[in-house]
């Protein structure tokens, strides 16, 4: 365990941005869990005696135009944003990934399965041709404004990504010997796909998951910004920015700036985490990174020894 921690620490030194990403995500996750204990005020109770107070004093981030504490709302917001983004992204990965696996497995040969695979891919083309935001708005408009609807919107707009990702992986894995062996050993297609194909195709999917969680948070915020996301006064970064951005022109910048900054940092953090998973999931890149990490202490010792010998001369 100590060796793993030590290795992680060395990787963090080599790639500080990975560490930054994990730190950001960890902080956001902690805020989401501990918000009820940390927040000094209720995130949904208006207090008109303290409206639009500037940051400082008892309101660290100030208050908005109905007196709600921005700090409390900003740290409660990850509960909503993360929940929606993670649920939506996982749902899209399950939906898109499973369909992609089937489509990839059956996309060659003859018969109705090939035609079905073809039709599914064309349907995914059509779905992806829609502007993501417009599609999400239409979905929310038809199903109504709720957290569940936003989750579904994220799931639907991201599913084609996982469909294509999984399909491309399965296409290359399908011809592997172990897959053939599985079939020869009498396993059904379903068993082969679930036990051998999908587990070996998961690496890029996992990397994409983290990046998509960040996009999911952004999409949630964007939908809330235009009024199609969560209902007021649910604390959510996008709706906070929407309520506050009109105050910027009159000098009250804080209602939108703080949630905006937290949103940007969180999405950035997830993006870094996604990049790190992408590196660690690739065997060649992972090997190179681990070698670098292992050599680093030896490298330092060699450099120190060289400096010492130069000084003696």
């Amino acid at each position: 365990m100590l060796a793993i921690v030590s290795l992680c620490a060395r990787i963090a030194v080599i790639r500080p941005r990975f560490a930054l990403g994990y730190l950001i995500v960890a902080i956001v996750a902690v805020l989401a869990i501990l918000a009820p204990l940390i927040a000094p005020y209720s995130p949904t109770e208006a207090d008109s005696t303290n409206f639009l107070q500037s940051p400082g004093g008892s309101h660290l981030f100030g208050t908005d135009n109905v007196g709600m504490d921005i700090f409390s709302r900003a740290i409660y917001a990850p509960r909503i944003d993360l929940t929606i983004a993670i649920l939506g992204t996982v749902l899209s990965a399950l939906l898109g990934g499973s369909i992609g696996a089937l489509v990839g497995y059956y996309s060659s040969g003859r018969g109705i399965r090939v035609w079905v695979s073809f039709a599914v891919m064309r349907a995914a083309d059509v779905l992806q041709a829609f502007p993501v935001f417009v599609f999400a708005i239409a979905l929310v408009a038809s199903l109504g404004q709720s957290i569940q609807t936003v989750v579904l919107a994220i799931a639907f707009v991201n599913a084609p990504i996982y469909l294509r990702l999984m399909r491309s992986q399965v296409l290359s894995l399908r011809s592997m010997r172990y897959v053939e062996a599985s079939t020869v050993n009498g396993l059904s297609d379903f068993q082969t796909i679930t036990r051998h194909v999908i587990p070996n195709a998961m690496a890029p999917v996992l990397a994409q998951l983290s990046i998509n969680v960040g996009w999911g948070i952004l999409l949630t915020a964007a939908l809330s910004f235009i009024g199609a996301g969560v209902r007021a006064p649910t604390p959510e970064w996008g709706s906070m920015i929407a309520m506050g951005f009109q105050n910027v022109v009159t000098g009250q910048w804080w209602p939108s700036m703080f949630p905006g900054a937290m949103l940007a940092i969180t999405v950035f953090g997830f993006s870094l985490v996604g990049t790190s998973i992408e590196v660690l999931a690739d065997p060649a890149k992972r090997r190179q990174l681990l070698n670098e990490a292992r050599q680093r202490p030896a490298g330092r010792a060699a450099a120190a020894s060289k400096r010492q010998s130069l000084e003696q001369v």
């Binding site: 109770e45 208006a46 207090d47 008109s48 409206f51 639009l52 135009n65 109905v66 007196g67 709600m68 408009a141 404004q145 009024g227 209902r231 007021a232 006064p233 309520m243 951005f245 009109q246 105050n247 910027v248 022109v249 009159t250 000098g251 009250q252």
Partner: protein, 554 residues
């Protein structure tokens, strides 16, 4: 995969990108300064530039009463009569229509002739004869005659748009009740006396059309010139339409052959700027002369600037909650009263309106004759509200939905304040934000238990106002309020010219309405105008619109 040299040569570094983005973002935050913004005319002395939330979607009042449209009407069209103007007692330099009752004036009103030069109301109040002004030309060069007035009112009967209300409220059942008595004489003949007969001649909703032009362009295929009047004008007003590009701008030009005093502003450009923050910036930077419908905090921010002035006048606007009497528990009067006692009026006016509103204390605009605030008893009192809920059998509270318009930035914060307050008496509100089109659809469908509404009755009359919103058969009675006694009182008040009798009737109406509380009474928002300090002439009209011909420069 690019090498180090290629990366340096082709792309900015991350630091350079962030610095550039920050600079661009900072520049975007700065208000527009004079000389920037090629899309905006800089307002020469006789050009008026207005930043409006929207350009006119249609120019035909029969079908379009949106903000951009009503501002155009007063410029393009003329009316039979108008109110005299007086100085606003609360806003220096601002004039307003004199809508008070004047016992010493003819018909107890301060009216002046416009297209009608003179008028005479019969002693029984059932008919009015108008002598029309001669020598008035339309923007198409056609002379105004009685046929234009006749055609205008016939159009209302035939098209059955908003004009149907105009005829109904006057008690007009047939076009035959409007008679051409000569080229320059016309009479309205009613079955019963109606105190609105002259007032409706001033109403922005009753412009007079150039019938000759309309007949020529419409022909037999479109006898009422619906298609033409949507996109152009045929009227006797001081301006003509020069350009209309919906979503961008509308341009009006003063007519040289206008019969009355020629407008000082020869050219008016109404530019669509949907965001109030952008309109604010444009005015602040001097790119426009008027920024319409700014948010209260933006008006406050402008007060300190010497190049800008803000006028705020008591208006006919009202904002209230429709409490749907057909959806439980708002079918219970004590529940409705409880809601009213828990609405934090003072908080709303201070926090949301920054003082640019007054508490709503009557079921009609407080500036209208016979408005009576003495029956208002809904001072904020949560204990009394709770007691009323107990009395209604809802002591444990209940859950319901409050719907509001996403297109009105004041409604969400008001909803939040009301939600916090009602929670304290056990009423848990789910806030439902509706896009503007969906919002109005839900209002007219009367589908929601609680929904905001912001409106103003254009005719300054207690009968007109109460008939509009509380008559059980009125299309605009969105709260489903039914009280036959109130219906009778309203109708009786509309059937006499005796102001003493009317006062007595409408006192009873208002007393009953405040007891029945069909609305959650919130506020009377003021009509505000943010303008360049050197612009003068602003006149307030109860139809809450601008008339470009009023303005000039110091």
């Amino acid at each position: 995969m690019s090498d180090l040299f290629t990366r340096v040569k082709l792309g900015p570094s991350r630091r350079q990108f962030l610095q550039t983005a920050a600079a661009a973002g900072g520049a975007a935050m700065l208000p527009a300064s004079p000389g920037t913004g090629e899309a905006f005319a800089q307002g020469a002395g006789d050009t008026l530039v207005i930043a409006a939330p929207a350009t006119p979607q249609g120019l035909d009042i029969e079908f379009d009463v949106s903000i951009g449209s009503i501002d155009s009407l007063g410029a393009l069209y003329e009316y039979m009569l108008a109110y005299e103007k007086v100085e606003d007692p609360n806003a220096p330099g601002v004039l307003r229509e004199d809508t008070s009752v004047h016992a010493d004036k003819p018909n107890n009103m301060a009216l002046k002739g416009r297209l009608a030069e003179a008028w005479d109301v019969s002693p029984d109040g059932r008919s009015a004869t108008f002598k029309l002004r001669e020598g008035v030309k339309s923007n198409w060069g056609n002379l105004f005659t009685s046929k234009d007035v006749k055609w205008t009112w016939d159009r209302k009967f035939n098209l059955k748009g908003q004009g149907l209300f105009q005829t109904a409220v006057l008690g007009l059942n047939s076009p035959d009740q409007i008679k051409v008595e000569g080229d320059y004489a016309l009479s309205f003949n009613l079955d019963k006396p109606n105190p609105l007969l002259l007032k409706q001649q001033c109403n922005l909703a009753n412009p007079i059309y150039d019938a000759t032009k309309c007949a020529a362009v419409g022909g037999s295929a479109d006898p009422w010139a619906v298609n033409f009047l949507k996109n152009d004008s045929a009227g006797f007003g001081p301006y003509k339409l020069a350009q209309l590009v919906r979503g961008q701008q509308a341009v009006f030009e003063a007519r040289d052959d206008y019969w009355d005093t020629k407008p000082v502003m020869k050219r008016v450009i109404m530019r669509e700027v949907p965001q109030s923050a952008s309109r604010f910036s444009l005015l602040q930077g001097g790119a426009v002369d008027i920024a319409q419908f700014l948010q209260p905090r933006e008006l406050e921010a402008l007060k300190s600037q010497k190049t800008v002035a803000v006028d705020a006048v008591n208006s006919s606007y009202m904002i209230w909650l429709e409490l749907n009497a057909k959806i439980a528990p708002f079918d219970n009067v004590d529940v409705r009263r409880a809601v009213n006692m828990a609405i934090p009026h003072d908080e709303i006016i201070r926090t949301i309106y920054y003082g640019y509103a007054d508490p709503q204390t009557a079921p009609m605009p407080y500036i209208y004759p016979m408005a009576d605030k003495s029956f208002f008893s809904f001072n904020y009192d949560l204990a009394k509200a709770k007691a009323l809920l107990e009395k209604a059998g809802a002591g444990k509270g209940f859950n319901t939905t409050l719907s509001y318009n996403a297109g009105d930035p004041t409604q969400e914060p008001i909803a939040l304040l009301i939600q916090t307050s009602l929670r304290q008496i056990g009423i848990e509100l789910t806030l439902e934000k509706l896009p503007a089109g969906v919002f109005y659809e839900n209002v007219t469908k009367r589908a929601k238990p609680m929904i905001f509404y912001l409106d103003s009755p254009w005719t300054p009359d207690p009968g007109y106002s109460t008939y509009l919103y509380f008559n059980s058969k009125s299309y605009v009675n969105y709260s489903n309020y039914v009280n036959t006694d109130v219906d009778v009182l309203i109708t009786e008040g509309l059937g006499t010219l005796d102001n003493a009798i009317r006062l007595e009737k409408y006192k009873k109406v208002q007393k009953t309405l405040m007891e029945d509380a069909p609305w959650g009474f919130i506020a009377y928002p003021k009509y505000t105008l943010a303008r360049k300090a050197n612009l003068k002439g602003f006149t307030y009209y109860t139809s809450n619109n601008l008339r470009f011909q009023d303005f000039s420069r110091r």
